[in-house]
């Protein structure tokens, strides 16, 4: 899903090739990192899914069909994990609420 070398939008930019693009200053790669790199802006990511999401959000106008599909897939799969997270968060809230309630009934 990172195969975007056919993209014509980048023809005008002066970056020689996607993989040679300098990593922007705001990133700091660990020495053992094996990042996937955005070929629009050079941002490195630990996972292809994060890269797909990044392209969909920050380069929405410059996506080709495969990138768009990758974004939608990544978004869907993230949605599933978010649902699970929400359940856990709800559980934590309930735990917090009743935990405090019981503590109050004992100590206050």
């Amino acid at each position: 899903m990172t195969d975007t070398d056919t993209s014509s939008e980048r023809a005008g930019t002066d970056a020689p090739a996607a993989t040679d693009r300098a990593i922007p200053d705001e990133y700091d790669l660990p020495s053992d990192a094996d990042p996937v790199v955005c070929d629009h802006c050079g941002a490195p990511f630990a996972e292809a899914e994060l890269l797909a999401l990044h392209r969909g959000i920050d380069h929405a106008d410059a996506l080709d069909a495969s990138e768009r599909d990758a974004f939608e897939d990544a978004y869907e799969s993230e949605e599933e994990r978010l649902r699970l997270f929400r359940l856990k968060a709800l559980g934590a809230l309930v735990f917090l609420y009743f935990g405090l309630l019981i503590t109050y009934s004992v100590f206050a």
Binding site: L50, A92, L93, L96
Partner: protein
């Protein structure tokens, strides 16, 4: 920041009320009356009180994590309305004049007026009018200090050398300046001695005007002057702001804190952390625990003169270190390659909402109780009060609940703004939520520390 006795009575009141009114729901159910006499306060152990405060922050983080709609968050923060200010030049001129008159009054009455702190209008103007009242307007309404600032008005008509400011210094001098001002305020009777206060202001004026002369007023007041920078940062919390063309812009309070341009270097992070830390330090040195620790350290042979600045710097480094660790943890938990430094910059502005919340909780009551004193001595500034006594406002008991809600509101705003900033920074929604774990832990820890300090009996800092 206000020191010693002027501060004492209301901090004490705040602590007692915070402890008592956190559970106002239960209390109201008993009495059904909001009058001070009809309320029952429930005695709860301090640790439970702190746990509840920390729990409230944790719960708000969990609640914020339910909002994962990127567009909603962006629209929410992008909302704003523009307006043209009528008679802008006239208002600016009046504001500058008011600043100059205020400074002249503070200096004149400070040197020539009565000795007693509560009878001296100059001293009341500084602590009650300016540091309590005016500061509130900077984060509740908008930052008007660039117009009011009398030192800036004076500097702008004086010639300037406009030397290049050494870029490597950045905003670091203002961090040192802010810490130094707080140290001075804590160890000296600035809030009790009108002459000393007026002299200090003269000293500050000399340094400020010299700096503005060498580097130019714009450079000096945006980069170096700690006072102007405190107000500028507080102003970023406020709903009103001014764009470059002078148009007024209305935005949601705190919504500008997600702006990545606000804090653009380590020096700016250091300043924001200093702003949060000085409030804590100010309260910490007035707790019985500090008296115990300080006595122990002084008994070991450390002079108090060294102890106070050392504690100021050590505590600051601890705060900065904790914040830095949180940023590093965020980088790891979010599985991101964004540098720790950039993350520290990005999540520093939300701390300003916390600082504003604590300021309001500390000083609204202080302002309301002492404003009558200022009004009473205003007609005869040089002679003090006509009757020899000054009125002090009596603050109703339910105010404690209000103060507590300011503290919590500041934190809620911070949690929300950090959440929005994380969504802006990270492509993954779950990634954004995970990045906030460590920051939320630090905020919980900070809330509990602050609530503990506020709930302690306030004493006079020892050895001063």
């Amino acid at each position: 920041m206000v020191g010693t006795s002027l501060r004492r009575h209301c901090c004490h009141l705040l602590g007692a009320l915070l402890a008592g009114t956190l559970f106002v729901g239960t209390a109201a159910a008993h009495g059904g009356s909001l009058g001070a006499g009809g309320r029952e306060s429930i005695q709860i152990p301090t640790w439970l009180f702190l746990l509840t405060g920390g729990g409230a922050i944790g719960a708000s983080f969990l609640l914020a994590s339910f909002v994962t709609d990127r567009l909603f968050v962006e629209e929410f923060h992008g909302w704003g309305k523009d307006a043209v200010v009528p008679a802008r030049r006239l208002l600016v001129a009046l504001g500058r004049l008011a600043g100059l008159v205020g400074l002249a009054a503070v200096l004149g009455i400070g040197f020539l007026g009565p000795d007693a702190a509560l009878a001296n209008l100059g001293l009341l103007l500084v602590w009650v009018g300016w540091w309590a009242g005016f500061t509130m307007t900077t984060y509740l309404v908008g930052n008007t200090w660039p117009v009011l600032n009398p030192f800036r008005t004076v500097a702008s008509v004086l010639p300037a050398l406009d030397r290049d400011y050494p870029a490597r210094f950045g905003a670091w001098p203002s961090v040192v300046g802010l810490l130094a001002l707080i140290w001075l305020e804590v160890v000296s009777p600035l809030a009790d001695d009108p002459r000393l206060l007026a002299t200090t202001i003269l000293g500050y004026a000399a340094v400020t005007l010299a700096g503005a002369f060498v580097f130019g007023p714009d450079q000096w007041f945006t980069t170096v002057d700690p006072v102007a920078r405190v107000f500028r940062y507080y102003g970023r919390v406020a709903p009103l702001t001014r764009d470059d063309t002078g148009r007024l812009r209305l935005r949601l309070p705190g919504s500008a804190l997600t702006d990545a341009r606000l804090v653009d270097g380590l020096d700016e992070v250091a300043f924001v952390v200093a702003l949060v830390w000085v409030t804590t330090y100010d309260g910490l040195v007035a707790t019985p625990l500090w008296r115990g620790v300080a006595t122990w350290i002084v008994d070991l042979g450390v002079p108090p003169l060294v102890l106070y600045p050392a504690a100021l710097v050590a505590g600051y480094l601890a705060f900065f270190g904790a914040y830095w660790l949180a940023a590093r943890g965020a980088r790891r938990l979010a599985d991101s390659y964004v540098s720790t430094r950039v993350l520290a910059q990005r999540f520093a502005p939300p701390l300003l909402a916390i600082a504003a919340g604590y300021h309001l909780a500390h000083y609204l009551e202080y302002f309301l109780s002492l404003a009558p004193a200022a009004l009473a001595v205003a007609p005869t500034p040089l002679a003090g009060s006509v009757t020899g006594e000054v009125p002090i406002g009596v603050i109703p008991g339910w105010f404690g609940a209000l103060n507590l809600s300011f503290v919590l509101l500041g934190h809620l705003l911070a949690i929300w703004v950090a959440h929005a900033a994380a969504f802006d920074r990270f492509p993954g929604r779950l990634q954004a939520i995970r990045s906030q774990y460590t920051f939320t832990l630090v905020m919980i820890w900070y809330t509990m520390t602050s609530l503990w300090i506020v709930a302690q009996p306030t004493i006079t800092p020892p050895f001063l």
